[in-house]
Symmetry: C2
Subunit: 383 residues, 2 copies
């Protein structure tokens, strides 16, 4: 087996809950050693977030596979010394405290960069470490609302909805992981560490995609469109007799094939629908017409028919269906984490498939609180 990309990289992980732990999980998957520093007694808040199995948080387990846990009390002088010793030995530090918190305890970037000039000091926060509102607490959902993503997600006349996953936390984790790897690469040449500062709010704005372009051009903020694509038609979910089906007609030749497959040849050259831009302009006429036709099929039959004709379509799966998906299985995207108490716990795998990373099934379990305190103390000479 080849060496993993981050083999030998030591990550001091001062994070809790989601954004930080997701970032350090990825660093661990890539081969880094993750030293998770937790508060004595309670540990990472996510240890107390459901769902639970035999009193253990599956949420926590799914985010902390393969990490080592040491407990340190930042208010204890002895423990602060231990922390500084770890800082001196580590390559990367990741924290997601409210901005200013660690600085006030003398554990901020300035202090640690003095101890270890090669350190990549990474902060994840709601609004970032500078700017008029940097000190404000933020939850993912508040950032989803403020960033505009909720304003373009949902039904056109419906109530607001959040993106069903904490995309603010997760996108920030991904951008931070990019920053850390880039900074590690940079350090190979310069020997210098640096500061990486990623905000959930910034990250959400960065992924708004064409919404900003649309506002810039049209001067009108875009709104929610259900499942509909803003400029491609038909490109949305339709209701069959039993289930919803997504149909994605990306260009005019697909349109012709689609009409033929449904036995609706007369629609192909109907002047209202002959080109994508005509179909988009005449959406209000086309949508009910297609819905009526599609509503006569069963989803399975229609899906087969479209497949046979090379027309992109797909189901709206609930999560249970992923567990029998053969493509996901082939890609090893649902892995088993061996928990000493619970046995096998299923969780999402790592989507970064890279030659030097083998199967992730063999990751160590998520740690018990403080499980590796002694091991880390010995290894790094903390007493």
């Amino acid at each position: 087996m080849e060496q993993k990309p981050l083999e030998g990289i030591k990550v001091l992980d001062l994070t809790r809950v989601l954004a930080g732990p997701f970032c350090t999980m990825l660093l661990g998957d890539l081969g880094g050693e993750i030293i998770k520093v937790e508060r004595p007694g309670t540990g990472d808040d996510a240890r107390h977030f459901g769902p639970f199995l035999q009193g253990k948080s599956i949420y926590f387990i799914s985010l902390n596979r393969g990490k080592k846990s040491i407990t340190l009390d930042f208010k204890d002088e002895q423990d602060r010394k231990r922390l500084k010793k770890l800082v001196a030995c580590c390559d990367v530090l990741v924290e997601n405290f409210k901005p200013g918190t660690l600085d006030r305890m003398g554990l901020g970037y300035e202090q640690f960069a003095e101890i270890n000039p090669g350190l990549i000091y990474t902060s994840l926060s709601g609004y970032g470490h500078w700017g008029p509102e940097s000190q404000k607490a933020a939850y993912d959902m508040i950032v989803q609302g403020r960033s505009g993503i909720m304003s373009i997600t949902g039904e056109p006349e419906g109530s607001p909805v959040r993106v069903g996953v904490s995309i603010g936390d997760i996108s920030a984790a991904l951008f931070a992981t990019i920053g850390i790897n880039a900074a590690l690469l940079s350090r190979e040449r310069t020997g210098q560490g640096q500061r990486v500062d990623v905000a959930m709010f910034d990250s959400m704005v960065a992924i708004l995609e064409n919404a900003i372009a649309r506002y810039f051009v049209e001067g009108q903020p875009p709104g929610p469109l259900g499942t509909r694509h803003p400029s491609i038609t038909p490109f949305e979910a339709f209701q069959t007799r039993d289930e919803w089906i997504i149909i994605a007609i990306g260009n005019d030749s697909l349109w012709a094939r689609f009409c033929r497959a449904l036995g609706q040849e007369e629609l192909i050259d109907d002047p209202r629908f002959a080109t994508n831009s005509r179909r988009t302009d005449n959406y209000e006429q086309l949508q009910p017409l297609l819905q009526d036709i599609i509503g006569t099929y069963r989803a399975g039959d229609l899906s087969e028919l479209l497949e046979k004709n090379g027309i992109p379509s797909g189901p709206i799966n609930s999560v249970d269906r992923l567990f029998s998906d053969l493509q996901l299985k082939a890609r090893n995207m649902l892995v088993n984490i061996s928990d000493p108490d619970l046995g096998q716990v299923q969780a999402a795998g790592n989507p970064i498939k890279i030659s030097s990373l083998s199967d992730l099934d063999y990751r160590e379990p998520a740690p018990e609180l403080g499980e590796h305190t002694r091991e880390i103390m010995e290894k790094y000479g903390l007493d």
Copy 2:
């Protein structure tokens, strides 16, 4: 100014539309030289995607700032030779063709790794380069449906909705960018390149967060919850007299403060609502009660009141409001790209704030099709 992390790294960019161009945009922001290879005549499909200004795609401009464009026809023998010469000179190749397409043209990983063993060959696709359905075309929305994310986004009794941004493309771009940086780091030690293979479908599953844990524990697939959090209450959007407001009561002490702020002290110790788990269990009683109270306020007044009491809340912004957001301004998250024809085009900035990356306002514009063909031919000795 310090050296950017990817200064000197040459990226051969064979990508189109969104996932690939988003990935190479990030590599460019980090300092890499992006050589965008486009089909003669039409170029990147996104050049023809709206919204347009004076015939130029703002969508394309917002994804391709600072790249250099060369046109090459992969079916022309001379151009294939030129491409191979570029492969020999580059550090990273990124492509998002349908799996198998480049291999069939003799331009796949095996062939290029022979020309350049240090090459990081990166593929972005719908379902990845192996597995029973790897050859299937995929659009973001089809992957959103299949991955389960649509099944947990939307109103509880409503129609399905897609996440309003192409989160399948974008999350794949982010995971690929992590993989590329990690592979570059690895190459510093081993001299070896490697293959990075990232699928949209895998990426969506990887960010499903607690939905997989919930299904694993409960045996029931989770459904959509509007703006509501599955296990924290109250944690959702409420309608005031004028606008929606998001209120996020993350723990019991915030609950007490929230009740006091609203003058509803009697709710604090109401046995139905005294703890978060009681509030979640009795959601059906609590929600209308709070909605009635909140519905009497104007959003601005309530927001001020909650702010004063340290209770996390926020608006549901439409995209136009981002342009006057002072925190975003301080973070330089809306940048101006100077287009030679259009002047300043506003686009989202880069959320990876890192010591050695300065302001992004100074990025070069997105290229005209083939604008740098001559420059690249000369620089890399292609004739």
